[in-house]
Amino acid sequence: MATQDVSPHIPNEHAELSLLDRVWQNGRGIFGWLSVTTHHAIGMRYIVTAFVMLLLGGIEALLVRIQLAHSNNTFLGPDRYNEIFTTHGTTMMFLFAVPVMEGMAIYLVPMMCGTRNVAFPRLNAFGYWLYLGGCLFLYWGVFTNAAPDMGWFAYPPLSGPQFTPGKRTDIWAQMITFTEVSALCVATELIATIFKMRAPRMSLNRIPLFVWSILVQSFMTIFAMPAIVIASSYLLSDRTVATHFVNPAEGGDPILYQHVFWFFGHPEVYIIFIPALGFVSAIVTAHSRRAIVGYPAMVLSLIANGFIAFGLWVHHMFATGLPQIGEAYFTASSMMIAVTSGIQIFCWLATLWSGKVRLTTALHFVYGFLVIFVLGGLTGVVLASVPLDLQVHDTFFVVAHFHYVLIGGALFPLFGALYHWYPKMTGRMMSERLGKINFWFLFIGFNLTFFPMHILGLHGMPRRVYTYGPEMGWDNLNLLATIGAFIIAIGGILFLVNVFWSRRHGRIAGNNPWEADSLEWAAASPPKNYNFEFLPVATSRYPLWVAPESEPASLSKAKTQPDRAVVTGLRNDRREVLVTTLMDAEPHHRYVLPGSSIWPFITAICVSIGFIGSVFNPWYIISGSIISGLALLGWFWPRKLLELEP
């Protein structure tokens, strides 16, 4: 395949553009809104919904911190406290962290790959509606006094029918079903998009690191989520139809639930955190204005991270009495993850050190990430060691550790990413000054909240206690943590203020305000529904920077490239995109994407009826399947036969 030096022949540019506009337009009114399949719109819905969840989870965190601010506090009773910490964990893990990463990926990946939408736009919409269904279902439970109260991990027998009667646990388990189906839809369509719809010549060795991280994350989702499907089904069927999967009286085993849960739960952490590594790579490249050092090492460590994550589930279960002879193996394999993460950190540091760094807010968040994540990694090494873990397991030390890893490792890069891509999403810049204030509030508040928890844990404060006695001497550090939590809250409010203020008053951004390297910056800000007038060709690993194809090393003096190679010959009178080969991204065939459709929404409603109904009556599984099948029939029914001519 060859690129020819011919200017694109455009008979009537204006007419073509309005044709594209019309073909990719979404319907109007509420019906149109429900039928949207454009990936930005869906991605944005994910992000906004996830941030609403972050807000709710954050409020719950504050309530927890208020309760623990001093000893023998009676702000919340044990029942409310248990509901709130469970809902906090569940919300943050299932309804915020994973979906927000999915949302960012849905928004960015098609643009970074240089195409017009995800591979399965309707599946994408369906996934979102199910995710929304999960959010609404859980919070419906929370607001009708049926919030789950057995911890976000729901260990049986505590979560079994005998010890938590009522519908709390069932609502939790079915909410998991909603989010896992949604996550699986997203993973499937993202992999298909990345594999088959990349810009021509974007070979494997040229895929942006963020897209790599999403690819790894999606594969992890595909191999990890089925485990939580099984775990939540164990719970649900034991509770509703009296099976015995985790019932020890009839041969079941509660520890099996832990194995299955953590076979999902450990990779889950990486499902959240690997996209964040992608954010960091994108921000570091753009804001240090140089090629990333050690791109192949980065890719291989990402993949190794994903692989190793599946071997580590046991280290959540050291206290259950595992074979003593295995301790050395478990410790060693847990430590290995530090090596692959370490390689990536060194690569970023080398890039930042040798690049022309522009100290933006986004980069502030990256620096914050590096500091916090390294600390979290160090405590992680402590937890990897079996004897040390047995001492601090299920104490506030672990709470501190995973907040360092998840807030430091995922939330900070996420904030950085939002500062980085906000101009692309809205067409306006966020306030840098407010952004830096925002960063320092979050950074200081975060360390104030969570650093003392290390000490509390070492002093023996267990997790998930609703109160403690004054004789334990934990009051001061807890008060400090509570104050820190409120500083984080102020930081969060500042961020929201910045988002809303800049939406109106921010500086107009232009297509590529950061002079960044990857293809999404070639699209308009905010992007059109079809992303690109002409699909781009990836002439190098950093397609918007001037560089000969074979010399990635000389990119440090790159400038953004005004005239790029593009694809012509796609029909604009239907939603046509280009399918390329998996490895070298050579053009293979053209492919017509489906347009807007109400059926994903209707199907999601039918599936939700089945899911929600089955909590109350198992027969809804059957009736739900039937109506969902009918809805699917409507979805796929051949309406307009596609014309066969090219």
Partner: protein
Amino acid sequence: RTLMRGHRNAEENQPLENHERAQTRETRLRSIVTVSSVVTVVLLFILLVASISIGKANADLGASGKPMIIQVIGNQWWWQFSYLNDDPSQVLTTANEIHIPIGKTVLIQGQSNDVIHSFWVPNLHGKRDLIPSRVTTEYIRADRPGIYRGQCAEFCGLQHAHMAFYIVAEPEDKFKAWMQAQLQPAVAPATPALAQGQQNFLNYACVYCHQIRGTTASGTNGPDLTHFGSRRTIAAGTLPNTPGNLGGWIVNPQSIKPGNHMATIAVKPDDLQPMIQYLESLK
């Protein structure tokens, strides 16, 4: 920083040379990354060796002679302890507070009656989960005399926070004396007031759940109260064991430890005082 920037501007004027220099710099950066990664691996390996040797030391605890075996059964939300012995008359069952001799290895044999709990005495050793349908084991040894607080470390429901216990480590002879005292049935009431208290206790529903050896109270759902007066706390470490606290606990356990499984029994105010005195007399 300004120096470096100036240096780079100069570079841009000489594109050819600049490319080569960029290449060598790239190589240098990569080798720095490689070296750092290797150093990380070496450090981790040292930590691994240290971790294994600690684990070995812990495991070796059990190898030294025949240990004393204490069976721990977790309940929502209190602890039952049994000193196992081949001679059934020497088996002691008690709750929420135990004594151990210093310098002697104790094998903790963990089980659970309901949900998963975790046995943890922070100053003695790591933790071990108590799991229904399984028996888990752990060795502990106290080298210094003292009172060690233990706490449930696995979330076990409403009152997970109030599920503590105490281990009193003392010299062998003192321990033996304690053990002998504990093996005795409850002391008979010495005064009429105490006898009244005993009678009150036996008249109320307390007996369905609690045992006082030497009386007809033989329930097993709740903690054994045979030597209740000798314990430091009531309700699994929730309150210091004082007559006032005990009264409050009997009259309204739910206000002190909401959600716990002790039944609220309407004890008449006149019956309460002797009952408290009697229970506190059970040293």
